[in-house]
């Protein structure tokens, strides 16, 4: 294989766009490359991608980037307006808002990441199983999904958090519990449309087991719309997490969680507007980043464009 790659070397691009790939690996790369070309033409999506990449980088390099300790109170320096020393000013305990923002990025990323890797596979599993097997399995799974879908998302999260006690872990759990039903719905809808396709029946006629059919043949067809939906939903999760933080039910003080920071600034809204405004903007920008990314992915992966 390696020799084949090197003989095709005259240009990486040529290798990627070859009409006659020589190996599985090359075929996969070529496909990914074409997707990337299409995606990168969408300027808004590229902005979204850079916001998300930026969020990840800020999380990793927070200790290097933050000019101050995010938790260090300095009452002599309370609610200072933005200045050269404190770009975004200070809060009611004299902590540097910029540093708190930088350290706060990790909570946002943590919530979004954990919810996505728990809720999406769960929804995928429930949805494909329901759609594939149909009958009573479908009926039972979809009724359960409907029950969770019928719950007011934020209120259910609120109830869970208050039942389990406030805190970031419980906030994540609460959001994950409310996040999976739409994925199950999407996966089921996709499964039902492909279930009767000839290529699925053809695979069945070669003796492919149900399990292999779901994993190898049906799941790939659900992935596009699911990836798009999860990316778009990450924006919504950020907002719910921030909402829980705002209500004091998410991350607990003194953790620099952005929603809680908005809540802190609420009492000084009229005179010291920046205390509430800046973290709110941060939530907005990151959430918008995920939305732009998801919207761009939709154009590439899901040309039908439905939700």
């Amino acid at each position: 294989m390696t020799t084949q790659i090197s003989t095709a070397k005259p240009g990486l691009k040529q290798w990627l766009t070859s009409d006659t790939p020589q190996s599985r690996w090359q075929a996969k790369c070529g496909r990914a490359w074409l997707g990337w070309i299409k995606f990168s033409e969408n300027k808004l999506a590229m902005i979204g991608l850079s916001v998300v990449v930026g969020l990840i980088l800020v999380t990793i390099f927070a200790p290097l980037l933050a000019p101050y300790d995010p938790l260090a109170a300095n009452l002599a320096n309370r609610i200072q307006p933005p200045s050269g020393d404190h770009w975004f000013g200070t809060d009611q305990l004299g902590r540097d808002i910029l540093s708190r923002l930088i350290y706060g990025a990790q909570y946002t990323l943590l919530i979004v990441g954990l919810v996505a890797i728990t809720a999406a596979p769960l929804g995928l599993l429930v949805g494909t199983a329901a759609g594939f097997f149909g009958g009573w399995i479908d009926a039972v799974l979809m009724r359960i999904t409907d029950v969770f879908l019928a719950f007011p998302k934020l209120i259910l999260a609120l109830a869970f958090v208050s039942a389990l006690g406030p805190g970031i872990e419980n906030a994540i759990l609460a959001i994950a519990i409310t996040a999976w039903p739409p994925y199950a719905r999407i996966a089921r809808a996709e499964t039902i449309t492909v279930r009767k396709e000839d290529y699925i029946e053809a695979a069945r006629l070669q003796g492919t087991s149900n399990f292999a059919l779901i994993i190898g043949h049906i799941t790939p067809m659900c992935m596009s719309s699911l990836v798009v939906r999860v990316t778009l939903d990450m924006a919504g999760m950020i907002l719910i997490a921030a909402g829980l933080g705002f209500l004091g039910l998410g991350a607990q003080p003194p953790m620099p969680e952005w929603g809680a920071m908005v809540s802190d600034g609420r009492q000084f809204l009229l005179e010291q507007w920046w205390v509430a405004t800046v973290p709110g903007l941060a939530i907005f920008v990151v959430s918008l980043g995920f939305n732009l990314l998801g919207d761009g992915l939709r154009d590439v992966l899901d040309p039908r464009g439905g939700d």
Partner: protein, 254 residues
């Protein structure tokens, strides 16, 4: 090779096959002709186990089929679908499409088998790592045939294998199918709406309407046009092209 008797099948409350009897000798080629809704494809789908609700007896190579098909059955009989754009998984490369059945049945040596199957259907090895959307309709149908052949079956069930193709491509695929039957000693059941295609490919022909076989004929009888049932006669006339006077003699067979 294949004996079907008193086959009945239902979709929900619709009785779609009514007492169908078919017998195909080894290396024979049997044609089923009919219009949409005649049940011709359902016969094939029932044999392969894609229809659950049926009664009657199906005997393949001396073995009576139960409600479920086992792996051995799929090594014995394979199906080729009508629409080459729908029967290949859009996210799988040709290589994966052909390798998977080899692995499922644990035949081993998948590389050589894939190459051989591609050669059998007249495709260059350059196609191996392409995705289906990078192929033309005729090439796709060749891949579908290669997928059926890779398990070395004795029986091919052909569900309108050329009706989605242009006529010039149809000729190539029909020639390929004819050659494979001769070379590999295959047994065919072929379903088509096109009398001429079936007449060209098959020795024995049955004409179906509303789930029932209304007439049986040999290729020779078709060539002479000596059909008896009025429905088959009508179908025969319709195959001859447009003739204003003939159309007035048509009856609706609902």
């Amino acid at each position: 090779m294949i004996e079907i008797s008193k086959l009945n099948a239902w979709f929900d409350d619709n009785h779609v096959l009514k007492d169908v009897d078919i017998s195909v000798p080894a290396n024979g080629s049997f044609g089923l002709v009919g219009e949409s809704g005649s049940g011709k494809s359902t016969v094939l789908r029932t044999v392969t186990g894609l229809v659950d609700d049926w009664e009657g007896t199906i005997t393949v190579k001396g073995k009576k089929l139960g409600p479920k098909r086992d792996k051995d059955f799929y090594r014995l009989a394979q199906m080729v679908f009508q629409d080459p754009f729908g029967s290949l998984h859009p996210r799988h490369t040709i290589d994966r499409i052909l390798t998977e059945p080899v692995n499922i049945h644990g035949l081993g040596n998948s590389d050589a088998r894939v190459v051989e199957a591609l050669t059998q259907v007249g495709l260059d090895n350059a196609f191996r790592f392409r995705y289906p959307h990078q192929l033309s309709g005729g090439q796709r149908q060749r891949v579908a045939i290669a997928r059926a052949l890779i398990l070395e079956p004795k029986i091919l069930l052909l569900d309108e294998p050329t009706s989605a193709l242009d006529v010039s491509i149809q000729a190539e695929v029909l020639n390929l199918l004819g050659r494979l039957r001769r070379d590999l000693g295959l047994t065919y059941i072929m379903v088509s709406h096109d009398l001429a295609v079936v007449a060209h490919m098959c020795d024995d022909i049955a004409i179906m309407n509303h789930g029932r076989i209304v007439e049986r004929a040999t290729a020779g009888q078709l060539a002479e046009g000596t059909l008896e049932h009025p429905y088959s006669q009508q179908l025969y006339k319709a195959a001859g092209g447009y003739d204003r006077a003939v159309v007035d003699t048509f009856v609706d067979w609902d």
